[in-house]
Symmetry: C3
Subunit: 219 residues, 3 copies
């Protein structure tokens, strides 16, 4: 890479990744609290939200060891986060925490989609498979979190663009090298566009058009 | 194979497979519509219903790449199907679609059970494991579809023979070679018997006897 | 091993393992009965409860073949157990069965946690990963059982020490070799301590302190 930054780029990357993972973990932690889970449930649901997407991608692509197995410090960080939250986080902090996490979450959506797709491309997967793997990396943690909490995953029913931002923006990663972009540039621009798309969706409160099938819910 | 057909057998096989996969995908699509999922949910649930069983079998048997990764055209076909459905399918079409899909679904049950068990046998798995893998191939897509839609899987509670048809008929595949049948003949007869069993179950509306434990549902 | 027993230690181990697995399977069987599942559901849920934890561990650690694939007799035993239960078990037996299984279940918790962690350590996993794998081995069968039955897993919300006993006691397995204990001794003492902790929790009806976030359940 020829980019020069005043600080170590590896450190910048680590900070961004940690912040995004924190946002994912907190989404699980708050859902677990709302469902009145006990300490075990809080840790598991926060862990699924944080690491579930990458783990699912690695199972599908048959990659081992998982990120959190290789860098076990992340498990300790998760345990510490849950302990701190259970001591200090109160219900009145939930909403403000969620709002504070919207942008880190959007950054995580971009970062993990792009890097997940990158991994699949490096394994010579077809473009559409790489895009799907990117989306799974970023979105499936939340899906597992919701399934364990006995909810239909919000990513599948809230009509807000989330997975779709990831789907669209990940194509930049696939296409950019053909336009002469370096791998690093393709990754950064793909992640940035996804985060931006998500940000626009958040700010405009855009909703996906409903499938107007005229069907009444039977259940 | 010494069988001669007036048309290319590979083409016949592809058409049957595509039709059966369509039936599986549509079952997911309709459940997603009933649950009022958004476009992302529709695609994911239809995809799980169509490819989830084979994917689960391959994870358990540690086979890669998955069918839908190797032949990425299936992902595009799924996306196209969902797009078409969301444009043209209306609630008043749901029931007739489901009824039209009963037989293709029965064909899929037979085909995917038999071929799933074949794969396990080729990996020198014990007979009972091969049979279980066959059943998982055909049935687990629907199970994952129902779990994501926050329902107890209908295959586990509707008292209609579905997995049981697959379980019984797959034994033909295991036993037939000992009776001198060719592999192709064993596969075809196993798939045909399963489809037939399922068809009889559909036409007679047979219900499995209930476990008469006298227990009241507490929930 | 220098331990001398009046009976074959392999036989003792097999009996203990079979009893513990029986306890796990029965927990699935009873939950399936309460949910009024059909025969297919009963077998699947009992099977998930019995073998799901070890299977999940092996998927995460990428080990094949699974225990129940290599020793297919366990599948036959599961089918036989379910058949017997559906013939002879009545609702009035449910509670007494559950109470009779509390101790075998506690033994299973200890045995499967310790042996699951042992497997991860043998693969040179970090200590915390090995402990997590131990807990998953013992607890995840019940988690899958509950998810399929459309419940939030009881291990995540009943505030009773179960996974936590496994988590604490598994550290003995990790630490003991550094204190000069043989592998066999480390395994036995770890399993025994976990079972004991669980037994104390059962007898004292100890409940984990609630996360007093002051949050009302919204659902």
């Amino acid at each position: 890479m020829s980019i020069r930054l005043p600080v170590d780029p590896t450190l910048v990357q680590l900070v961004i990744e940690a912040l995004a993972t924190l946002a994912f973990a907190l989404s699980g932690l708050l859902e677990a609290a709302r469902k009145k889970l006990d300490a075990v449930g809080v840790v598991v649901v926060a862990g699924l939200a944080a690491f579930g997407g990458g783990t699912m991608r690695d199972i599908l692509l048959d990659r081992r060891p998982f990120f959190w197995m290789q860098h076990a410090a992340w498990i300790w960080a998760l345990l510490a986060l849950c302990a701190i939250a259970m001591f200090f986080l109160r219900a009145r902090h939930f909403e403000v925490t969620e709002r504070a996490m919207l942008w880190p979450d959007a950054v995580g959506l971009g970062l993990f989609s792009a890097s997940g797709a990158r991994i699949a491309l490096d394994m010579d997967m077809p473009a559409i498979v790489a895009v799907v793997m990117g989306v799974i990396t970023a979105v499936f943690g939340g899906v597992l979190r919701d399934i364990v909490c006995n909810e239909i995953p919000s990513a599948f029913r809230d009509h807000r663009p989330y997975a779709i931002c990831a789907f669209l923006g990940t194509w930049i990663l696939v296409v950019a090298p053909y336009l002469g972009a370096s791998d690093a540039m393709a990754l950064i621009s793909s992640a940035a566009v996804i985060t931006l798309l998500r940000g626009i969706a958040l700010m405009t409160r855009y909703q996906l058009p409903e499938w107007n099938s005229g069907h009444r819910n039977e259940s």
